[in-house]
């Protein structure tokens, strides 16, 4: 195993009675990668994270944290792990500083380094002003930050955050995202969420599961590149007939959207935008808008959920599966 693989999950299964919450999940995460863990509600995200963080025993499969088997040597594996559950595990009667010092100690930070570790975690999570306040009196956003500070206080190799931006205001969300990005530089981070723009904002890898099974896995570029053809939409003041656009080089199909707008499907490997602009100028079509459609994760997500809801949908639909 290459030494920079910090998390390796192999063939992970988890059953609750007859219900299979996670089925045959495998993935790897290297140093410096932020993995966006996606899936609709009830897909098994939280279960998978609980298994990886050692809170639940897997029914089958193995997990390595920093090259150490989580089941064989839990103590060594867990020392490299920081975990923020869905609900931050806070002792409300403690002050922020006391709580963080306790977290540092149980995660094996030596006594003489505790004060420095607390100060560092506080600074990274923007908690300087509230160090002496009781956790129970803090707002939800601050409590969430204390939860994140708890997960990174011992500078673990792997940080697992289960829906870290739930319940925060937009500014706090931006701050937390910036924090996750900066964590991604030195640690491996798994972030579960069902907010798709968040994945595009902070992650460089994506893992999507549905009903416990992996349906999509790869780097963000791979996933969005393979997400189907990139259409082009164009809008004209004086729209030409459809056939005239269809005759341009690199155009495979045209679809009129009304109001002088067209959706243009490019031929494989071609980009018709340049030719389109030249012709539009030469022939006076009055082009005022030209945009390349990027397949967003959102479309993928909806397609996956949709495919499931309508199993009769043809297999030929542009639904990407294993990108990796």
């Amino acid at each position: 195993m290459p030494s920079d693989v910090l998390i390796r999950v192999e063939n992970l299964h988890r059953y609750y009675g007859d219900l299979c919450a996670v089925r045959a999940l495998s993935f790897e995460l290297r140093k410096g990668e932020v993995l966006g863990f996606l899936g609709p509600n009830g897909a098994g995200k939280t279960t998978a994270m609980q298994v990886i963080s050692g809170n639940l025993a897997p029914s089958a499969g193995r997990v390595w944290i920093g090259g150490v088997d989580l089941l064989d040597e839990p103590r060594r594996a867990k020392a490299q792990l920081g975990y923020l559950p869905e609900q931050p595990p806070l002792y409300r009667e403690f002050t922020v500083d006391e709580y963080l010092a306790f977290c540092a100690r149980i995660h094996g930070v030596p006594r003489r380094d505790v004060v420095a570790a607390v100060a560092r975690a506080r600074a990274r999570c923007g908690l300087e002003a509230v160090g002496a306040r009781l956790i129970g009196n803090l707002s939800k956003g601050y409590q969430q930050r204390v939860g994140i500070a708890q997960a990174i206080i011992h500078t673990p190799a792997v940080v697992i955050l289960d829906e870290p931006t739930v319940g925060l205001d937009p500014i706090q969300i931006l701050e937390i995202r910036a924090l996750i990005r900066s964590l991604g530089e030195a640690h491996s981070v798994i972030v579960s969420t069902h907010i798709l723009p968040e994945v595009q904002a902070v992650c460089n890898r994506v893992l999507m599961i549905h009903r416990g099974e992996r349906v999509l896995y790869g780097s963000l570029e791979e996933v969005t590149r393979d997400a189907g053809e990139h259409g082009v939409t164009a809008a004209f003041r004086r729209p030409p007939p459809e056939e005239e656009i269809g005759a341009l080089p690199g155009v495979a199909g045209v679809e009129a959207l009304g109001d002088g707008r067209f959706r243009i499907r490019p031929a494989a490997g071609a980009d018709p935008r340049e030719a389109l602009v030249e012709h539009a100028v030469a022939r006076g079509w009055g082009l005022y808008e030209l945009a390349a459609e990027r397949a967003s994760l959102e479309r993928l997500f909806v397609e996956l959920a949709y495919r499931d809801a309508r199993p009769d949908m043809e297999a030929g639909d542009p639904v990407p599966t294993e990108a990796a």
């Binding site: 609750y16 963080s53 639940l56 103590r75 806070l90 977290c103 149980i106």
Partner: protein, 250 residues
């Protein structure tokens, strides 16, 4: 690791008003009973002089007080132990401990020792009462030591049983009532022993009271000490197993 967990437990106890309330109530009640006992001793003192080999201050004042303390603490311990694990479950703070490098055994021992430290404070406060008698009289330190050892072991046993009950549920109140039920049952279990010949030995052995009362009389028997140690060990092991089962839940 265990120490960190134990100190946190103790701190949490003292950060809540419950611990202070319990200390105050227990000490007040015991002081009342203690004074009543001292008064009784003063009244019968003239008659005691006449009796050869009469029971002393320790037997008349301290032993009954420790006997009362055992009952009062049986009522109070469930309130202290109920939140140990059930509360962490309810507040969802258990993942913090479970994802840390601490093992299940360390988590359970840490919580247990935290509770024991609280009981130590309580015992020290109770011990001040008989020791105050030294101002006006003499004490039998052997009997006193055996009595306090008995109370300490009894409290440790209460605590272990309470910890296990707390590990079974996420409702602290359920943990409290079950603990109380279990302790009371073990207190009176030998009362039914007389009904069937042959069984009385087993029931008498299981009784928390039997072993305590012999220590109160100043009789130090390793058999009694071993009974308490086995009792504690059993419930601690069961607690560890119960928490482990949480991870394996199907």
């Amino acid at each position: 690791m265990i120490r960190t967990l134990a100190l946190r437990e103790l701190r949490s106890l003292f950060l809540s008003p419950l611990a202070w309330a319990i200390l105050a109530v227990v000490v007040f009640l015991l002081a009342w009973l203690f004074l009543a006992q001292v008064e009784y001793f003063q009244r019968i003192q003239p008659q005691l002089v006449a009796i050869p080999n009469a029971p002393g201050l320790t037997a008349i004042v301290v032993a009954p007080m420790l006997g009362d303390a055992a009952i009062i603490l049986m009522l109070v311990t469930p309130l202290l132990t109920m939140r140990l694990i059930a509360d962490e479950r309810r507040n969802r703070t258990l993942p913090l401990l479970l994802s840390s490098p601490a093992s299940m055994t360390e988590i359970v021992l840490g919580k247990y020792l935290g509770l024991m430290l609280f009981f130590l404070v309580l015992l020290a406060l109770i011990a001040l009462m008989p020791l105050s008698l030294l101002m006006g009289g003499g004490l039998d330190f052997g009997t006193l030591a055996a009595g306090f050892l008995g109370l300490a072991l009894l409290l440790a046993a209460y605590g272990a049983a309470g910890l296990f009950m707390s590990a079974l549920t996420r409702q602290p109140t359920v943990a409290a009532i079950s603990t109380f039920g279990l302790l009371l049952l073990l207190w009176v279990i030998d009362w039914s022993g007389n009904a069937r010949p042959g069984m009385s030995g087993v029931f008498a052995y299981l009784s928390l009271l039997q072993h305590y009362s012999s220590l109160l009389k100043g009789m130090f028997d390793t058999k009694d000490v071993i009974y308490y140690l086995l009792f504690i060990l059993t419930f601690l092991v069961l607690s560890v197993r119960r928490l482990d089962a949480d991870r394996l839940q199907h």
